[in-house]
Every structure is written in structure tokens, then in C-alpha cells.
Subunit: 150 residues, 2 copies
DNA sequence: TTCAGTGCAAAAACTTTGCAGGAGG
DNA sequence: CCTCCTGCAAAGTTTTTGCACTGAA
């Protein structure tokens, strides 16, 4: 189980700060890494709860924030007025294409973007901490129907 | 007062659909165009209310959505779990650089981005309806302090 | 006349906070 | 032991919804 490497990484991150190492935090990490695709904080909390975990909502929210800080997760926002997370563990950076009809999210990588980000920040005097790039549209394939659960 | 041109544009948009032309909708439009910078829906509602307007919250939310549809406003999301709007009337498209320390938002234009968006959508089979590109970081100038009200 | 639009208030969805007890270092 | 962390529930924010009435076409 290679998740242990992620555990180790998280542990190091926690130690570096004044954060304590607790079983609840690793439980959240496990559920997050195992989740297929993007998820909201409450969504993950509910899933854990339905699996008889008794980690509280507050702890889930708190831990997801920590996991985003140490980049084991990526925190995103697809314009739904809520935060979304996805595993960033062992993945290369990518951006997203969101279908407004069926809700599908496709990933893409475009190396030119990183350079643009640097150039712009340079020109305007910013220390970059990150960026978000989302393209919105509609799948051109036939089986894209209004079905936001996809 | 060149706002009348915006009124005209909105009127045409409303007629095209099954939407009715109401004074409340133009009142929201006026407040929105006159607002300096980005604003949230509730923020605008509160501002209107404090100016003795009696347009309801529901109407403000509804109208802002319409104004975004016809592109008189741009709807944005800067990762705060709430929608932000800004006037798009007579402005050229641009993207944003957001300072996570002082909250400042700078605009930039980078022509290469449009091409990237097209290429990616083309390759993955999407009809583009829009995109969002935000860079997050910290101002390098001295007077950038923790002050989210900026 | 008709039905979309409106105001109002309640509810919903997501997130944060306060507090008292519990456990990591 | 000292705090940070936790669970729980309450409160906070932003947005949506239900309903009866109003007014645009």
C-alpha cells in the first residue's frame, strides 16, 4: 500500500509546524486519496460518516485545509461557490475543462501556461503562490446530456 | 449618460428571450455598472437597500445572473466560495492577479491565453463558452499588509 | 387576461466558531 | 502538564426556493 508514503509526507509536514499528529488526520487523508475525482469537504465528511467514521465535520474541514497546504491535495474552485479538492499525490500539475451541461471535468496540461504565469507576475510585481485556469464549455460528443451528477 | 446604451443592450437581450422588461432589472443594472470594482450579489443588494431601493434580494440575484448571460457583467470566482461580478461594459477581456495578503486584485491581458483556450478545447472536443484564469500571490510592494478590506 | 416577475421570509448549502472534554508531545 | 485537537452543535454566509400578489405584454 503506497499510501504510506503519503502518510509519511503528511507526518513530516505536521512535525515541521506546530501541528500534532492525530489518527483523525490520517483517516481524512486516506479517504481523500481514495476518493475518485473531485470532492467537496462536506461530501467527504458525509461519506466518512456513512462509513461509520466518527471524525467530526470540523476536523474534516480543518484537515483538508492542511492537506492543501502541504500539496498532498489540490484545492480548486469550479465556480460553484464551494471548495473542491482532489488528490495531488503523485500527479503532475494540470488544469481543467468543465462541461456546463453534463458536469464532466476533463484534465489537460499545457506547458505554456506556467511561463505566462511567471511573466505576468514578474511584470506586475507579485510573488506567485499559485494559479487557477478553467475552461468552461460543452462536450461535443453525443452522450453529453443534462445530468449534473455525471 | 452613456449608461443608456447599456440599458438598450439589456433591453434587446430581454426581448430576445421570454424575459420581461421591468424597472427593477434596470435599477440593478445601474447599481452594478456604477459599482467600482468587483462585488458580490449580497453586497450589491445591501448597498441598494441602504440607498432606499426596495428591490428584493431574489430579484438582485436573478438579475445579476441575466446580466452575466448577456455579458454586460462578468461573473467571477476568486476562490472565496462566493460569486463576484464586475462590469464588462465597454471593457476588453482580461484576467486577474489576486493578492492573498492584502486582497488587491490587479487585471492583466495576455493575448496568448485565448489561443491556448481554443487549442485545448479543440483537442479535447469542447464548445467553449468561457474560461477563468486567476493568478494568486502576494504584492511585492512594501505597503501590502494583511488587510483583507483593501 | 395571463403568467413571468416581485417581495418577503424561510430554507438550503457550505463553512466557521465556541466550548468543554480528551489526548499528543 | 500544557495546549492543541476533537466532537458537537450553534451560528454565520451566501444563495435558492415557495408563495401570494403585482404588473408587463
Amino acid at each position: 500500500m503506497e499510501l504510506n508514503l503519503a502518510h509519511e509526507e503528511f507526518k513530516q509536514f505536521l512535525k515541521k509546524g506546530t501541528h500534532r499528529i492525530t489518527p483523525e488526520r490520517f483517516e481524512v487523508l486516506d479517504y481523500a486519496l481514495e476518493y475518485d475525482g473531485h470532492f467537496g469537504a462536506d461530501e467527504l465528511y458525509l461519506k466518512m460518516k456513512s462509513n461509520n467514521s466518527n471524525v467530526s465535520r470540523a476536523t474534516v474541514y480543518n484537515t483538508l485545509e492542511l492537506l492543501a497546504s502541504c500539496e498532498l491535495l489540490a484545492k480548486r474552485n469550479f465556480g460553484e461557490n464551494k471548495a473542491r479538492y482532489e488528490s495531488n499525490y503523485g500527479k503532475k500539475t494540470h488544469d481543467h475543462l468543465i462541461c456546463l451541461t453534463c458536469g464532466a471535468i476533463k484534465e489537460f496540461s499545457e506547458p505554456k501556461i506556467a511561463k505566462i504565469v511567471e511573466d505576468v507576475a514578474d511584470k506586475l510585481g507579485f510573488d506567485i503562490s499559485g494559479y487557477s485556469f478553467n475552461i468552461f464549455g460543452k462536450c461535443t460528443n453525443a452522450n453529453c446530456k443534462t445530468n449534473k451528477n455525471a
